[in-house]
């Protein structure tokens, strides 16, 4: 998964070469499916959302910086956002905030990023870091990552004051950033 490969692959997508799409799927199909399935917990829906994720990358490849962009992180961000949108839609939590996830998919946020961030070494690193969180911190991170709950929704779900939940979220994210940030930031 070298930078050169990312660049070559991105150029292929920009040329609308179906072979590039096949390569993209071979590299990221499994992890995209895994992320989406872990959120929507429905195989058929996960397949639809994987298709939508790859189509979105295909349609937006022209906006991707082939020299500095990180294809994998961009695709995984799209995958998670599609899945969270789906879950929010299914639970009628389609408030106006829910539709701003798209802003998190802009390719400009994925330039100069470590492309290897999705490899197995970093998977072990994040698993270790999450295991070190307190029970409450781990719970808020899981509610955020897998269900996309807002902090107010978490507070309601957990029966805790909003301020307490915000403290847990901030503490957990700071800990994770400190644990893995240096290792994965270019």
């Amino acid at each position: 998964m070298s930078g050169q490969n990312d660049e070559t692959l991105a150029r292929g997508l920009q040329r609308k070469d179906p072979a590039a799409m096949a390569d993209l799927y071979d590299r990221f199909g499994r992890i995209a499916y895994s992320v989406i399935l872990s959120i929507v917990r429905d195989g058929a829906a996960a397949e639809d959302l994987v298709q939508e994720t790859f189509l979105r990358v295909w349609n937006r490849a022209q906006t991707f910086d082939v020299e500095r962009g990180a294809l994998g992180p961009w695709l995984l961000s799209i995958a998670r956002n599609r899945a969270i949108d789906h879950v929010r839609s299914a639970t009628a939590r389609m408030d106006r905030n829910a539709f701003e996830l798209d802003a998190h998919e802009h390719p400009s946020l994925f330039v100069d990023m470590e492309r290897e961030v999705v490899n197995s070494d970093h998977a072990r690193l994040i698993q270790k870091a999450i295991a070190k969180l307190s029970q409450n911190q781990r719970e808020v991170i899981q509610l955020a990552y897998y269900e996309g709950l807002s902090q107010s929704e978490m507070a309601e779900r957990m029966g805790q004051p909003l301020g307490t939940v915000k403290t847990w979220v901030r503490g957990a994210l700071k800990f994770l950033r400190d644990e893995i940030g240096q290792a994965v930031t270019a």
Binding site: M21, H104, R170
Partner: protein
């Protein structure tokens, strides 16, 4: 708010769970390419991406690869008119959208909105309905893509009081209306509103109501527009 005040929220923002006012403040800083916030959110995005490592790895079904690749192979083999016609339609609407959208002060955010709108218009499965051609005072066109969202283009919209807003609803064949975001009309009573994201698979109609500022979880007034999607 200053970058210093927003720094602690970069992670929550990147996870999609930040709340106002921090959420909209960060979005505003990103839209104007604030270097510190762009750097901070990028760094947080790394962390969110790394979180995919906590997900158990599952082998996707074998047929999914051919489904994904086949989708773009079919697209690249589409006949000339099949390719040109949707783009011609999109280009026309893009001009309309550009004329309406771009005069505002947030070019990056609006470019993103335009891209979202074009994605909806380019979806071959999107339903398109023109409304208000006869009796209704408000007129316009709505595009609904099950997977990509809704584009609403309206004219002659009713005047609303300060503290009120328009709210769009997707009405499924069964069940309650699903809120699809709020928007305001321009001074000439027009509006172009793009709501990206999937809509209920059994969407039967789109409606617009007048609601208190910030919107409502369910309609509190009778819709002044109900646009049926069936038969399109």
């Amino acid at each position: 708010m200053t970058c210093e005040e927003l720094r602690d929220e970069y992670g929550a923002y990147s996870l999609g769970i930040a709340q106002d006012p921090e959420r909209s403040e960060i979005a505003e800083h990103l839209a104007r390419q604030c270097p510190e916030c762009v750097r901070g959110v990028r760094s947080a995005m790394v962390m969110v991406t790394a979180m995919s490592g906590m997900v158990p790895s599952v082998e996707p079904p074998k047929h999914l690869r051919s489904r994904v690749v086949g989708m773009v192979e079919r697209e690249t083999k589409r006949p000339f008119f099949g390719l040109v016609l949707p783009w011609a339609i999109s280009a026309t609407l893009a001009i309309v959208l550009l004329a309406v959208v771009l005069p505002s002060r947030r070019p990056n955010a609006d470019t993103a909105k335009l891209q979202q709108a074009l994605a909806i218009l380019n979806d071959p499965a999107a339903k398109e309905v023109t409304f208000g051609e006869t009796a209704k005072p408000s007129r316009g066109r709505v595009f609904v893509s099950g997977s990509k969202g809704v584009v609403f283009i309206g004219a002659s919209l009713p005047a609303i009081d300060t503290g009120k807003t328009f709210e769009l609803w997707v009405i499924p064949a069964k069940g309650n209306p699903v809120p699809a975001g709020t928007f305001r009309g321009e001074t000439d009573a027009t509006a172009v509103y793009v709501r990206p994201g999937p809509v209920p698979a059994d969407a039967a109609a789109v409606a617009v109501t007048v609601e208190p500022e910030g919107g409502s979880p369910q309609p509190t007034t009778t819709p002044f527009l109900v646009i049926k999607l069936s038969g399109t």
